[in-house]
Symmetry: C3
Subunit: 265 residues, 3 copies
């Protein structure tokens, strides 16, 4: 039996909004550690990893490890029916082919049960090794989102270049070129506005803006985004989910034009 009660239910709503356009179907894995997901987008170019640690739930009961295949579009339809202040409980009986989402309004006057059919989804869990990155940029998530959106009106790819002074986002297209530089800024009175660069060596990598724009849908989850870059590795775009976990997007850099480095199938 599974019963996970999340007082701040809006977090789960935001998680679904962040990933439902990137991934159609995925297995949610439940264990003593937490509620997690790892899935690739349909073109096998981007990977998303989600973790909500068990400590972050008000009540967390998971009698045995469980993998629940869900259609994220349908799951999102149901979670949209939860109010932003609702408490959300995820429930599943052992061996059942359904999952139930329960939404309780703060005053307990309205209680909703949404039951969704589960799916069988083949998926292989990729081991993602901890890596050293040449450069790690932490910046306001809204700023990163705005930059990716702005550059998309000019070109299709973004070159992210990190030096000690700052991070540069560049693109080029039919109508011209664009460069946006964000300087390091360790403002301490408003830490959520700071831009902090940890750099071992300068790095410059190219990515498809389409995916970056998809990742930035996670911006409502966190004021800050962390971008970890190395020339040999997929970029990691990470949004913290309060104190309880994270959502991480991995995207392989573009090596040559019209060629995408793919994850193993």
């Amino acid at each position: 039996m599974l019963e996970l009660r999340l007082v701040q239910g809006s977090l789960l709503k935001k998680v679904l909004e962040a990933i439902k356009d990137l991934v159609n179907d995925a297995n949610f894995d439940c264990s003593g550690t937490g509620f997690s997901l790892q899935a690739m987008d349909s073109s096998h170019v981007a990977l998303v990893a989600l973790l909500l640690r068990s400590e972050g739930f008000e009540h967390y009961r998971c009698d045995r490890n469980l993998s629940m295949g869900m259609n994220l579009g349908n799951m999102s339809k149901m979670l949209r029916c939860a109010g932003n202040d609702d408490i959300i409980t995820i429930k599943a009986d052992d061996g059942s082919d359904t999952v139930t989402f329960m939404f309780e309004s703060p005053d307990q006057d309205k209680i909703a049960d949404f039951e969704m059919k589960l799916m069988d989804i083949d998926s292989e869990h990729l081991g993602i090794p901890d890596s050293e990155y040449q450069a790690i940029v932490r910046m306001p998530s809204s700023e990163f989102s705005r930059i990716c959106k702005d550059l998309s009106s000019i070109g299709d790819t973004v070159i992210i270049s990190v030096t000690k002074e700052g991070v540069k986002f560049s693109t080029a297209g039919d109508i011209g070129t664009a460069n946006i530089v964000c300087r390091q800024n360790k403002t301490t009175d408003k830490p959520e506005d700071s831009t902090i660069i940890e750099m071992q060596e300068p790095v410059s990598l190219t990515f498809a803006l389409r995916y970056m724009n998809s990742f930035t849908k996670a911006s409502p989850l966190s004021d800050q985004v962390t971008i970890s870059l190395s020339s040999e590795l997929p970029v990691v775009v990470e949004y913290k989910i309060g104190e309880m976990g994270y959502i991480r997007f991995y995207l392989a850099p573009k090596i040559e034009e019209d060629e995408e480095m793919k994850f193993p199938q």
Copy 2:
């Protein structure tokens, strides 16, 4: 001669927004009692009845009973040109085939006259008998609107079940099922948030969500909606219009799947 002056013109704007998508053409009936309308939707499944009592108008002159056929889409186009704070006057000369809507801004600096052609519309006035209902639910109109919208993302019909404890809205569709329970709640400090159930006996009826969603467009007219249910009768969904009247929607319950109880043609 007809001249009806409504200081709170926004009420008339909201009435039109509430019914224009349900009914294309309808006769507005003017008498000493008030300004009223009774009309069926084009599929003859739902009925709308509107009453604006003469006492609610600042000035109400209606020399003889008059029935004015209007296209509600065109009427809505004109009323949208009135400001939300404008005073609206409806004027018609005896025997004229036009009606004039006059909009005065609160400071009288802007005065608009919109003249619309009238239509000849055949319509029979249904006598709606006063009935006893098995259950009457009064609840926040925004809550009812949200529930109908949410359930529409799962299924096509809603089962409304009333017990002493509360009212349950249920649906089912391809992706799963949903149940939303609102408990009786006689909160007195904020009467507009209360949910009050008057029940003679438990009742459970099925309705098309498409129509319910159409009715909820009247929500801006009133904080509360009243839903009157009996197993032998069409449901009545009523929104009060201030102190001056009401808009009532009638919808026959679904008896079997794919069959709609129709009003006599």
Copy 3:
């Protein structure tokens, strides 16, 4: 070399939003006097004239007169990437076929360079003589915008009639007719809400609403609009741009139905 630095960069953003749908390509003319543009819409019915005086720029360097052909749609795409509080600098090297827009955030933490290709555009500069107008109406730009939009839901043309008492906007269409009268109102405590009429003689002229609605996209630039009317002349619809200039739209009145007075080609 050209370098124009505009602290209130949002003005340039608003200018582009005001004219980009009316004019596709146009030459921006740079001289010691200021940064200006004169262009006709593609159907040669409306003319737009823009002036941003050099004194309005924080820094204005223009070594020699320069005419830069730009696609306004592309220019607008780039300016939309500037924040509303950004400082915008327009830069061009002598003989270069590109122009650069630089956007600096107020705290200087984010600096963007957008480089756009210039175009060769044939254009003839029309001399617009200073004229005496029979009537000049100054009114709130939001009011004028609302009136043009409202009348468009009824008809295609607007008759603007000025008398000493006020200005009347009229239209007619299939569903009826509309007249909106704005009275002269020299309110002094809120000058931006005033409607002031200077009239030599009554005038009544007909214009295509499609163009008027296009002109009103300049409303965010100014609280007030000035409409100058004479029976022999194109109407001038003018929006001041702060203290530094103006945007003026010229539209020839309709003489007979289905005939538009055109500017010389």
